[in-house]
């Protein structure tokens, strides 16, 4: 077992055991923190597909996170007010069922990623960064002006949505659901990375000219990666909104995009468990430093600078040495 695998196994064991211990010690807040970390990790695993495998520096992933959040908010708010979303041409009712909400979140954010990606991928490099940031901001302003769903104030739902056979109102079962989804996304990431598609995508990141010369279209590969990436981040957004029972334009802010990217890089770009390590450390720091000073972002900024200037490869890179991931 390599050091990276050992680290991953320990991290996963921690994610299973800590909330169980918190449950035994009757500390539900710790479970809520862990849930937050797991959901953010899921969002970051999504970004890691675009960024780590595809080399696409997207600063607009908050849009997908927020679309997932609004998918939850809109469906659940219609369900709780018993007002259908649409009556024509077909009757569409709201829902409080998590699986349905997840599916809608995945489809909606995937569709948004398809449109944003198709436009943004006409360019590359620094253009791509600025354009994804700008399109993210477009969705942000759209939600602010969308009075029907709360505008600037966002949308609250009264009760967390349900999952067949589980009491999602209790912290631990909801945490379990989130963890299972995170593991599924990690499995998918691992599979994708090794698949023919992942091989071609990785080559498109390193030598796009070669990929074209063997008959593959680098842009199409990137677009598919971007859509998968956005869809996973969208799913995380639906969970995040469910955790808070609230969704607002803040979920689509540029800071959120930056934060998701920070999680990936803090943990290690392109590493399977990079986003998980990044999210766990981020939420822990936020909790510990945030308790000491309200200006904890200064320290986060300094840590980030340190990572960029001195510790490429992030946490996983530090633990497991180089190789495996990439710069």
């Amino acid at each position: 077992m390599t050091r990276e695998r050992l680290f991953n196994a320990l991290l996963l064991a921690g994610l299973v055991l800590v909330p169980l211990a918190a449950q035994a010690a009757d500390e539900p807040f710790t479970i809520t923190l862990a849930t937050r970390a797991v959901i953010l990790a899921l969002a970051a695993v999504g970004l890691n597909i675009a960024l780590g495998l595809g080399g696409l520096v997207s600063l607009g992933h908050a849009a997908f996170f927020g679309i997932g959040g609004y998918a939850m908010g809109i469906l659940a708010s219609h369900a709780q007010s018993y007002a259908p979303l649409a009556e024509w041409p077909i009757l569409i009712e709201g829902t409080k069922s998590m699986p349905v909400i997840w599916l809608v979140a995945i489809l909606a954010s995937g569709l948004a990623a398809l449109v944003i990606g198709a436009l943004s991928l006409r360019t590359s490099g620094v253009y791509f960064i600025m354009i994804t940031l700008a399109f993210g901001q477009m969705f942000f302003f759209f939600t602010i002006s969308w009075a029907a769903y709360g505008g600037e104030d966002g949308l609250s739902i009264y009760v967390r949505n349900g999952f067949p056979g589980l009491n999602t109102l209790a912290p631990l079962p909801f945490y379990g659901l989130c963890l299972v989804l995170l593991c599924a996304a990690l499995w998918l990431f691992d599979r994708l990375a090794k698949s023919p598609f992942g091989l071609a995508l990785g080559a498109a990141r390193q030598v796009p000219a070669r990929v074209a010369a063997v008959g593959l279209d680098p842009t199409r590969l990137r677009l598919v990666a971007f859509v998968i990436s956005g869809a996973i981040t969208g799913l995380a957004g639906a969970l995040f909104a469910d955790l808070n029972r609230f969704v607002s334009p803040a979920m689509l802010s540029w800071q959120m995009s930056g934060e998701i990217m920070v999680l990936v890089i803090l943990g290690g770009v392109g590493r399977l468990f990079g986003p998980v390590a990044g999210a766990v450390v981020y939420v822990t720091l936020e909790h510990l430093l945030g308790g000491i000073t309200e200006f904890w972002h200064i320290f986060l900024g300094l840590i980030l600078l340190g990572i960029v200037l001195f510790a490429r490869g992030g946490i996983v890179g530090l633990v497991a040495g180089r190789g495996g991931g990439h710069d």
């Binding site: 436009l119 302003f141 972002h297």
Partner: protein
């Protein structure tokens, strides 16, 4: 809709556009010369605004406030360049994004720590307060007219600086061939610090000028930064002229879109629905403009063709 309203809105759009230009010019210059994407440019805008508000409160002089804004932003820019940015030139864009994102956090929280979370106010100087009457009987705030004039004047000066001076020649040479001008004995790292400080001063100036018509607060820079990115995408990276054209396009589209789209929608919809749909679409209009330019010319209106 009266012609007066339209002219007013066009002027508003121009005013917004020239302020965006001040931001975009610095960004595009820094990208063109050093190949750096600087997310912290909005922080320098904020630094300018805070410096102006502080100095104006202490001295009562708006002119002093403007000078202080540019000096503070240039100084902050130069310090940041020396301490952090110059380590990023050789790194990839991802590192640049991350490091300058970290700088935003440090600047924003540092400012919040120093000045608190409440907005400061910077008053329009008495001499520029109040409306003027334009030909045709249009009442328009003098200060905003001055902003348009100041912005265009800076654009012209910048054009002269880049096109006609020795520094400008070096900047243009730096865009084309880094090694060559280093080989010719130009101190490239000093040039980079200078260009960065120049870009920062422009951002600081914009922050101070706009600070007088909006509130001065933490986080004021980033929305402007992102709009400046839209400007650059539309105008083409590295092109000052592109930045000017892009900035005016974005300024006008944003301002006019907010006014006309709801009116336009009212022709086909109920008024309430039209207002809300129009407002939603207006909030997206500049991004739609950006998307259209991308489809038409992926490297921007004045960008080098890939």
């Amino acid at each position: 809709m009266s012609p007066i309203l339209i002219i007013e809105q066009v002027l508003n759009g121009l005013q917004f556009g020239v302020m965006l230009f001040l931001m975009a010019a610095g960004l595009t210059l820094i990208f063109g010369v050093m190949g750096l994407i600087n997310l912290a440019h909005g922080s320098l805008y904020m630094v300018g605004a805070f410096a102006a508000a502080g100095v104006a409160a202490a001295t009562g002089s708006f002119l002093m406030a403007l000078v202080a804004a540019m000096a503070a932003a240039a100084l902050a820019g130069a310090l940041v360049e020396l301490a952090v940015i110059r380590r990023l030139y050789d790194k990839d864009h991802l590192d640049q994004v991350l490091a300058t994102f970290a700088l935003i956090l440090i600047f924003s929280e540092g400012t919040r720590w120093l000045f608190g979370s409440f907005p400061l106010f910077l008053d329009i100087p008495d001499a520029l307060a109040g409306p003027v009457t334009l030909p045709g009987g249009i009442q328009y705030p003098l200060y905003r007219l001055v902003l348009i004039g100041a912005g265009l004047a800076v654009a012209a000066l910048l054009g002269l600086l880049i096109g006609r001076t020795r520094l400008g020649i070096r900047i243009r040479a730096g865009e084309n061939d880094r090694e060559m001008i280093a080989a010719l004995g130009v101190d490239i790292s000093k040039l980079y610090t200078l260009v960065f400080a120049l870009g920062a001063a422009l951002a600081g100036l914009a922050g101070a000028l706009v600070g007088a018509i909006q509130s001065v607060q933490v986080g004021m820079g980033e929305p402007v930064l992102i709009l400046a990115f839209v400007v650059i995408v539309i105008g083409g990276i590295g092109s000052i002229r592109g930045a000017l054209v892009g900035a005016l396009l974005v300024g006008l589209t944003d301002t006019l879109g907010g006014i006309f789209l709801p009116e336009l929608f009212k022709l086909v919809m109920a008024p309430a629905a039209a207002t809300s749909a129009g407002a939603s679409l207006a909030s997206m209009s500049i991004y739609i403009l950006m998307g259209a330019v991308l489809i038409w010319r992926p490297t921007g209106l004045f960008g080098a063709r890939a």
